[in-house]
């Protein structure tokens, strides 16, 4: 047909047409790439649940078009590196750097994140982004039954799926920890939910501008907004009621930034993350590592709930997700941020069941003044817990973990910082491994029998018998 067309129209016309079509195709691809709206046409396959939000930002991972594995590895570590160290990781990369592991690394190079977490391959991607067969532990622990006779006959596909082990975070699952906590009751006699301490440690937060904003409660006459600023009565009223005004944090603290010479920048009516970072840099940084803030951290437009993969309410589908989306500009009510803000968007079964749960009952009782302080369990209590965090090599302090992925997926990561604030270890492991209880927001009693605890108990007994004369 093309030959007939060429004979009829002449070869020059065919060439011209071919060049024209090629130019149009190239222009379309260029527009798709640079407009970022249709970059999916370049994608070799869909991204995993952990990274799907960055589908229009190839350069977030592929910072160098020809960089290959080492470049990708650097970018993995940039975002995930903090958690890939001890004690949060049982298999830190540093453990495998010794040349004696060369034979092992030939089987599977675990020093590269991509060896187990290949992107764009949904057909082989399992839970938690794993793209290796489930029996991957076999490569190094083939003779585990010799070391642990109790494991004889167990299938390697069950190492991680049974809830007994994780490749990375085993802080609540290692044998000695199970032994230490195996007899804990379902409900611990004493709650150990961590209290907030921000105000009392301000002198330790080097970036906090305490000289400019000393801890004195401010009144309407103290507000330092410029006359040109647009300020309505509601905003002023919210600020006066906020913990910011009570702690001496004036309007300029959020709406203006301070440069190296100590000079205030021009007034910004709608400050972004910079406004929060001056005092809450740890929280903002963590926010950027979680699903809520990862787009902002990459310099992209903020996430809209409509782009989430989890079920969301439609009425807030196009709300841009920033600090103020949850905290509410000016009032910064942490109680709202802890429940109502979450439920304003999330519409999965677990979230929808929350208000029928005993956890919510405790939260409501605390708000009503009936329950003890810190006895309420909000969405944030579990998914954005207050933790004692190493904020530098030399200092740790209590912060709200704003990367909600950090203690999630696998959910056993929640056991220590969250569940064990109120519940015993066997109860916690059992509850989190029951999909029905997870879905209905823990309305019911978990199975008290936990096999990994039984094995740990036997191990402890074996040791005690060995020691006894």
């Amino acid at each position: 047909m093309i030959i007939a067309f060429a004979k009829e129209q002449g070869i020059a016309t065919v060439w011209l047409l071919w060049i024209l079509v090629s130019c149009v195709l190239c222009a379309s691809l260029a527009v798709a790439f640079y407009s970022k709206d249709n970059r999916v046409v370049f994608m070799p396959g869909p991204l995993s649940a952990g990274h799907h939000q960055l589908g229009d930002s190839c350069e977030s991972c592929h910072s160098d078009a020809f960089g290959g594995g080492p470049v990708l590895q650097t970018l993995c570590i940039d975002c995930h590196g903090d958690d890939r160290k001890k004690p949060f990781d049982s298999h830190p990369i540093a453990k495998f750097k010794d040349p004696r592991n060369a034979a092992r690394l030939e089987k599977i190079n675990v020093t590269l994140c991509l060896s187990c977490h290949t992107e764009h391959r949904p057909e082989i991607t399992a839970k938690n982004g794993l793209t290796q067969p489930l029996d991957v532990c076999f490569h190094c622990h083939e003779d585990i039954a010799e070391e642990r006779p109790s494991h004889d006959g167990m299938a390697f596909v069950d190492c991680t799926t049974s809830g007994c082990h994780n490749y990375h975070d085993n802080r609540a699952l290692y044998t000695d920890f199970l032994v230490k906590h195996m007899d804990q009751p379902h409900y611990l006699p004493e709650l150990t939910v961590i209290e907030r301490e921000f105000v009392s440690v301000i002198d330790q937060i080097v970036e906090y501008p305490v000289d400019r904003y000393p801890l004195n409660e401010l009144t309407v006459d103290d507000s330092d907004e410029p006359t040109t600023a647009t300020l309505d009565e509601a905003s002023m009223s919210d600020w006066l009621a906020s913990s910011h005004a009570k702690a001496g944090v004036n309007c300029s603290a959020c709406h203006q930034t301070v440069n190296a010479e100590g000079e205030l920048s021009a007034w910004n009516d709608k400050p972004g993350l910079d406004g929060c970072s001056s005092c809450h840099s740890v929280e903002v940084k963590d926010f950027g590592k979680g699903k809520h803030g990862m787009r902002l951290a990459e310099g992209l437009d903020p996430l809209n709930p409509i782009n989430a993969q989890l079920p969301m309410h439609t009425d807030n589908a196009h709300e841009a997700l920033t600090c103020n989306s949850c905290h509410g500009a000016h009032l910064y009510d942490v109680q709202t941020a802890a429940v109502d803000s979450c439920l304003g968007c999330h519409a999965d079964e677990h979230s929808l069941a929350y208000k029928s749960s005993s956890h919510f009952g405790l939260w409501q009782a605390e708000l009503d003044g009936v329950g003890e302080p810190l006895s309420g369990v909000s969405c944030a209590t579990c998914h954005m817990p207050r933790v004692n965090k190493d904020v530098s090599d030399w200092l740790s302090r209590v912060v709200v973990e704003h990367n909600q992925s950090r203690y999630f997926s696998p959910n056993s990561k929640m056991i220590r910082p969250v569940c064990q604030s109120c519940h015993g270890l066997p109860f916690s492991i059992s509850a989190l491994s029951d999909p029905t209880l997870v879905t209905n927001n823990f309305q019911g009693t978990p199975n008290p029998h936990v096999e990994s605890v039984d094995l740990a108990r036997k191990d402890a007994q074996r040791h005690a018998e060995k020691k006894s004369p």
């Binding site: 453990k95 750097k97 040349p99 004696r100 034979a103 920890f177």
Partner: protein, 205 residues
């Protein structure tokens, strides 16, 4: 007078030239000394081991043994974060090895690795794996006071591998290993060889 003055000037110039020459020669010599690879892999491994062994012995005797065993003001535990305890000497050693591995990666001119292993390991991952490790650990256990040296190829890279005996320098070394539930040997005494330090330096064949 003039001749004397001239001689003096000549002497002065001569001394100055001699001095400057010596200074240049010394500078050149000292540069050569720093850049010429006059240290053999074996002497480098011996030196590295002396530093590692001394640092850990100091930590074991003056910190762990003194505070945990003698003064009993704090414990030492492999779960040091959870137990709010001192890091075990073996862990301190391994953390250092891991940090060196990370730092050496960023500085390829400084390239060596080391590990602590045993033919009676508490953690089976610390049992010898390569032939040189197996032979070396057995050799230092059987020949007290002697080191083991070998060449081996791992992952396509040639290494000079040195194995040094790791002995119980304090009572806590023996007692902790003897009491550990996963220890395959429970009769260690102070002064016994409990394992070995393996140091590897990449070499060109």
């Amino acid at each position: 007078m003039k001749l004397n003055a001239l001689l003096n000037v000549k002497s002065l110039v001569g001394v100055s030239v001699l001095g400057l020459g010596s200074a240049f020669a010394l500078t050149a010599w000292s540069q050569d000394a720093g850049e010429t690879p006059s240290i053999t892999p074996r002497s480098m491994a011996d030196a590295l081991h002396m530093v590692m062994d001394s640092d850990r012995a100091v930590y074991t005797r003056r910190i762990v043994n003194r505070l945990a065993a003698k003064d009993k003001v704090i414990t030492a535990s492999e779960h040091f974060e959870d137990e709010k305890a001192l890091v075990l000497p073996a862990q301190m050693f391994r953390f250092g090895a891991e940090m060196v591995a990370e730092r050496a990666e960023a500085n390829p001119d400084v390239n060596f690795s080391y590990s602590l292993q045993s033919i009676w390991p508490i953690n089976k991952q610390n049992a010898p794996q390569t032939e040189a490790e197996k032979a070396g650990l057995q050799f230092v256990a059987d020949n007290k006071g002697q080191n083991y040296y070998a060449n081996e190829e791992l992952g396509g890279v040639n290494y000079f591998t040195a194995v040094y005996a790791d002995t119980a320098v304090a009572p806590v070394c023996a007692s902790c290993h003897n009491d550990h539930k996963d220890s395959p040997r429970t009769d260690f005494k102070i002064g016994d060889v409990m394992g070995g330090v393996v140091i590897r330096i990449p070499i060109e064949q």
